[in-house]
């Protein structure tokens, strides 16, 4: 997949290996959560309430005697699922709008881009909160809200790329051959605009994970007893003075995940951008 030059660029920064390794571990954990976690996420150990980290409970236990390590492990599945699905919603809607605006231009372009400008004029988290106000709190609604919240950024990037690609000779050639608009967009334009879309998607996954956790943290997303990291941190607030592990481990998992995805996104941008060749 990577050319030799791209692999060289990736290898040049050691931190990329750390980030890629962490993401790989996260994905494996998400798939194998039941086998990695020593306890079920809702299993309460009688008499072990708010116990610090030990060999049985690696990350300690929470206020209901549940194993925090197991809950963090099961939380990876939710985090991966919501990060990917929220970004997929944003990317698909953004691609549709951006392709229509960029390819057809004219009134479609004006309508779609003014709508996009309007959405961009509301801060992302506020837009997400407005959508949750409409749909009601809950994890699924958070995914939809965050998806719609990052949609305008995709629309913008896609439209910009389409505008430059559609002037290429091979698109004109396809048109001269009498190929349909649908076919031209699908076979000639789409593959050539995917680079920037993939980079944006990676960076938006990090933002989606962060915002979803934030919304769960204020009580608008995943509800207890779901082992979602933001929701766990919300529960941890009340025990901040007595149980540091309750905050530190879910918070650390969240921060490392966002950090790794951000690092990979930055590198991906360098790798796919020919201007940084040397």
């Amino acid at each position: 997949m990577l050319t030799r030059k791209q692999w060289y660029k990736f290898r040049r920064k050691k931190v990329n290996f750390f980030a890629a390794g962490f993401i790989l571990m996260l994905l494996l954990t998400a798939v194998l959560a039941e086998y990695v976690a020593p306890f079920p996420p809702r299993f309460q150990t009688r008499g072990s309430v708010l116990i610090g980290p030990s060999s049985t409970h690696l990350f300690g236990t929470d206020a209901l005697g549940r194993d925090i390590f197991s809950r963090v492990v099961h939380g990876t599945r939710i985090t991966v699922m919501l990060g990917v699905s929220a970004t997929a919603i944003a990317a698909i809607l953004g691609l549709l709008q951006g392709l229509i605006a960029g390819y057809y231009g004219g009134i479609w372009d004006t309508l779609i881009m003014r709508f996009t400008d309007m959405l961009l004029s509301i801060p992302g988290i506020l837009l997400a909160i407005s959508i949750i106000a409409i749909l009601g709190p809950g994890l699924n609604n958070v995914i939809i809200a965050i998806g719609i919240g990052s949609m305008p950024q995709f629309t913008r990037v896609v439209r910009g790329s389409v505008l430059s690609v559609k002037e290429e000779d091979y698109v004109t050639g396809a048109r001269v051959l009498g190929q349909s608009d649908f076919f031209i967009v699908l076979r000639h334009i789409l593959p050539n605009i995917m680079g920037p879309v993939i980079v944006l998607a990676t960076l938006r996954i990090a933002a989606a994970v962060l915002n979803a956790a934030a919304l769960s943290f204020v009580g608008l997303g995943a509800q207890p007893p779901t082992p979602e990291w933001g929701a766990m941190l919300n529960e941890a607030r009340r025990y901040l003075s007595s149980a540091w592990w309750y905050t530190v481990f879910p918070g650390g998992a969240l921060a490392l995940t966002v950090l790794s995805v951000n690092i990979l996104g930055d590198s991906l941008r360098d790798i796919l951008d020919p201007r940084t060749d040397y």
């Binding site: 106000a133 934030a214 009580g219």
Partner: protein, 306 residues
């Protein structure tokens, strides 16, 4: 220039019109009957009917929309379901703490961000630069509420220097402002560094050094002044984001601002209040962006608008 400002103000009004339309339809996009959703399923039909009547839900959509715009233009956002007081009054009370937090957060972000950005640029290719850039990357990835909880853990629980939560004294402001501003200090540090690195390679910097100016004067009088232009732009843009983005930090620190009010109102299904808050915060955001756009020309006379 004048023409640009007028056009920019017109665009801002169009955007605000769009935002009000979105806010109006918020209530109508609620799945099911808004009045039933607001009162809950156990409400008696007569109460639902009364609410529908008072909200004007039985009128044609166009009439409702017209009335809404007319009221909003006059600063009337209706009454809160929860307290039955005018939404505008509630928002006025909660607005100042949010503005205060946003300004303090941005102030800290500028202070930390510019200082470390300049440091990184002046110590190029040393461990100092690497350290600043690593901390900045962490700052960009660390969720603000996780940072807030860690700061609370260290400064309030462990050292007992600062209060955990609440509002009132300057001490209460420190941790929320730091949690909110740290992300932006990281962004500002990155931008300051790259802008300074670029400027330090310019001819006029070489001339300044060649005529024997000491490094301090070169750095602060010649480089920093020009290097700060992109920083000011970014700071202005993010100030708007801070206004609307303080939701989580306000909830964490029990800060009595608009963001926390928004979260409480969603839980209570207080739709007039939510509409008012979204409208006010979006207006603030658009207004700040407008000021930033206009200030470009004053900061950098080389920029021409045509």
């Amino acid at each position: 220039m004048q023409q640009f400002i007028i056009r920019r103000i017109l665009v801002a009004f169009v955007v605000l019109f769009g935002v009000s339309t979105f806010v109006f339809f918020m209530v109508h996009l609620i799945p099911g009957d808004p009045a039933t959703v607001m009162l809950g399923v156990r409400a008696t039909p007569s109460r639902v009917a009364a609410l529908r009547e008072s909200m004007g839900l039985d009128e044609p959509l166009v009439v409702q929309y017209g009335n809404f715009l007319l009221n909003v233009a006059q600063g009337d956002f209706g009454r809160s379901f929860r307290t039955n007081r005018p939404v505008v009054h509630e928002i006025q009370v909660r607005m100042w703490p949010t503005v205060q937090l946003a300004l303090a957060g941005m102030g800290l972000a500028l202070l930390i961000g510019i200082a470390s950005g300049v440091l990184a640029a002046s110590k190029r290719d040393t461990w100092v630069e690497s350290l600043v850039m690593v901390v900045a990357m962490i700052g960009i990835s660390l969720p603000n509420f996780v940072l807030g909880m860690l700061l609370m853990l260290f400064f309030s629980v462990h050292l007992r220097w600062l209060p955990t939560m609440g509002y009132g004294t300057p001490f209460h402001l420190v941790l929320p402002a730091l949690s909110l501003g740290f992300l932006y200090s990281a962004i500002i540090a990155r931008i300051t560094r790259s802008s300074m690195v670029e400027i330090l390679g310019m001819d006029y910097i070489r001339s300044a050094r060649a005529k024997g100016l000491n490094e301090q004067a070169v750095m602060y009088k010649h480089a920093l002044r020009n290097g700060l232009i992109p920083v000011v732009t970014i700071a202005g843009l993010y100030l708007g984001v801070l206004l609307g983005g303080a939701v989580v930090i306000e909830t964490l620190f029990s800060w009595p601002g608009l963001g926390r009010l928004a979260v409480e109102s969603i839980a209570a299904r207080d739709y007039p209040m939510i509409q008012g808050i979204v409208l006010v915060l979006a207006t603030g955001f658009v207004f700040v962006n407008l000021l930033v756009d206009i200030s470009y020309g004053f900061l950098d006379p080389r920029i021409q608008y045509n």
